[in-house]
């Protein structure tokens, strides 16, 4: 990707984000239910209400509100949450790291286990193991994160209660962290007890988010591997004395990763969207569970901030994946 390519991608991304802003702003102005009505005490006078409306800028026209909002957003000011009475940036900054740790852990789990299943399936071609793997994976492909999360609640909540069912860590664990990235921080500090506690709490949401990713990666990568394995260069490699393992990992895999990578990017954004419901099921204090509360409380500034955070994340992932697959494709880096 050249510099001008990158710039035009960035411009398009900003345009998309602006579109997201317009859509969400317009959508929220038609929400029934007055956010002010939900936050005042019964003893408030009409004058209090008018003052509050003016305070949140709700007394101006929609267009005026939009211009003011976009101007503020451009300066990094996303307003104050109505229900939590704190700056949106602060709230998102607190919750987003928890979600990021969650989704990246799930990404790693999905890529590693999906990759292993694909390689195992390719190595077991023409044995009874292959159709068995395909059958199981075919079933897994139909299970979305919502169903996984609940199945895991049943499995680990009732049948074999080893993992905690809710929260990010045990309340007894010290919350004395310098950064909001608790898992990474405990890893760096080599604080094993805290790290294991956090990992235990993350295990189930990570599985719920990562398993659908794993099965779709397993299928796509295996198809690409099988396609590569019948190419002449694999045949020649076999004649050159390469082991089956080396043929799959050294020869076929490099050619199969490209198509799998762009799919992984798309699925990763779907997975991040899935945090909304999965975090709620496991009461995980991330940005996703905050999002549903924000909607239920009609907390307009917070909803806008969260949606923009998600949108930025999605677009950033797309750009990164594009850049990565460009690098991986020898035809484009050395053309």
């Amino acid at each position: 990707m050249t510099a001008s390519d990158f710039l035009s991608r960035l411009l398009a991304a900003l345009l998309t984000l602006f579109g997201v802003g317009v859509v969400i702003f317009c959508l929220l102005r038609v929400v029934p239910g007055d956010p002010i009505a939900m936050m005042i005490s019964p003893s408030a006078t009409p004058a209090d209400i008018t003052a509050l409306r003016a305070h949140y800028g709700l007394d101006r026209s929609i267009f005026e509100q939009f211009v003011i909002w976009i101007g503020d957003v451009a300066q990094g000011d996303f307003g104050r949450s109505i229900s939590l009475k704190r700056p949106v940036v602060e709230l998102v900054g607190e919750r987003l790291p928890a979600s990021l740790e969650l989704v990246f852990a799930a990404l790693i789990f999905g890529v590693v286990s999906g990759g292993l299943i694909a390689v195992a399936g390719t190595l077991s071609r023409k044995t009874p193991v292959e159709p068995l793997l395909d059958l199981i994976n075919g079933l897994f492909l139909a299970v979305p994160d919502f169903i996984w999360a609940l199945a895991l609640v049943l499995l680990f909540g009732v049948l074999w209660p080893v993992f905690p069912l809710s929260g990010r860590m045990d309340p007894s664990v010290s919350t004395d962290f310098a950064t909001p990235f608790y898992l990474i921080e405990s890893m760096i500090r080599l604080n094993l007890a805290v790290m294991l506690d956090i990992l235990g709490h993350m295990a189930m949401p990570v599985l719920a988010l990562g398993l659908p990713l794993a099965s779709i990666i397993a299928r796509t990568l295996k198809e690409a591997l099988n396609e590569a394995m019948v190419q002449d260069y694999v045949l020649l490699g076999r004649l050159k004395g390469m082991s089956e393992m080396r043929l799959v990992l050294g020869e076929a895999l490099r050619n199969a990763v490209g198509p799998t990578l762009s799919l992984t990017g798309v699925q990763f954004t779907f997975m991040i969207g899935g945090t909304v419901i999965v975090e709620r099921i496991f009461s995980f204090p991330g940005i996703g569970s905050m999002a549903i509360d924000a909607v239920i409380n009609r907390d307009l500034p917070l909803i806008q901030g969260i949606i923009l955070a998600f949108g930025t994340l999605f677009i950033a992932i797309n750009i990164i994946v594009d850049a990565l697959s460009n690098r991986l494709n020898p035809r484009q880096t050395h053309g």
């Binding site: 023409k126 190419q231 002449d232 260069y233 045949l235 020649l236 490699g237 076999r238 004649l239 050159k240 004395g241 390469m242 020869e251 490099r254 050619n255 020898p330 035809r331 050395h334």
Partner: protein, 290 residues
């Protein structure tokens, strides 16, 4: 007479799908340093013979009988460890399509040295030196650039040269060339044919040259085996077969090819009557077998 490099004896193979013979009672012998053309239309069984020698028959084809002896030892019954030592070292392959025969994701140098390191146990430095020597032999002018290139950066002819270098790298006794020029431009074809012949002479290697083109055979092969529908129709020294064809099918094929030496002749389609006779003859042979 010297000991033959390869002798295929009464080889028969069945299609697992419908039980018909794809090879029946094929025999041929190859002396050291001999270039043998394996000629026939598609489905005649020429590629099946090549694949059977290399031990890479698809699962849809099953050997029904016969032997493939390499320097006297039967490959069909050889232990896997013996085969692993032979294939890729004493017997190598020049594949048909240079597009798919080089891994698009790996540099030429790495692919060229793989076999030297794995099969001959060379270290990185000597494999690299040998690779440059080989590239020189196949007349690649800027070996340093090619060595560090990816396949898509080279022309089809260049890629085929690399594959030829790869095939001759371990000084094999037998090279199987599976229609190595069909995927190339006509202009490049001739160069590649000459290159195969020169490499073969320099290394004293026997070559099985699979092709559907009698013209190619006339240019580079010492001897010819002509196949139709899995049967050997006629075989012998190239000059004999072309000058004094004994079989009507051979005559018809020669007439069907373009004759650069005698313009105005050639390009006669093979008459339907010849095919009818062929099928009848093959039918008789198969009933005689039973």
């Amino acid at each position: 007479m010297t000991k033959p490099v390869l002798s295929v004896e009464a080889l028969s193979a069945l299609s697992a799908r419908n039980g018909t013979y794809v090879l029946s009672d094929v025999s041929l012998t190859l002396q050291p340093g001999e270039v043998r053309g394996l000629v026939g239309e598609s489905g005649a069984g020429k590629s099946t013979i090549a694949k059977a020698v290399l031990g890479i028959l698809p699962s849809t084809i099953r050997i029904a009988g016969g032997w493939i002896r390499f320097e006297g030892d039967d490959l069909l019954t050889a232990r896997p460890s013996v085969l692993r030592n032979l294939l890729g070292r004493d017997i190598t392959l020049i594949p048909q399509d240079p597009q798919t025969a080089l891994n698009p994701a790996r540099r030429i140098g790495a692919q060229l040295t793989d076999g030297l390191r794995l099969k001959l146990g060379m270290n990185a430095a000597s494999a690299r030196a040998r690779a440059f020597q080989l590239m020189d032999e196949v007349q690649i002018r800027d070996p340093a650039r090619v060595f560090d290139s990816f396949p898509h950066q080279l022309s089809g002819g260049m890629r085929q040269r690399i594959l030829i270098a790869q095939a001759f790298a371990p000084n094999p006794k037998l090279v199987i060339a599976d229609e190595p020029t069909t995927a190339l431009d006509v202009t490049v074809q001739k160069e590649i044919l000459r290159l195969v012949r020169r490499m073969q002479e320099a290394h004293g290697t026997a070559v099985i040259f699979v092709t559907h083109d009698l013209g190619v055979v006339a240019k580079i092969c010492d001897s010819v085996t002509l196949l139709y529908s899995g049967h050997v129709i006629e075989q012998g020294a190239t000059a004999d077969l072309i000058e004094r064809p004994r079989h009507a099918y051979t005559r018809a094929l020669i007439a069907a090819g373009p004759r650069y030496d005698r313009p105005g002749q050639g390009l006669q389609p093979v008459p339907e009557r010849v095919f009818a006779d062929l099928r009848k003859e093959i039918g008789q042979r198969e009933t005689a077998d039973v």
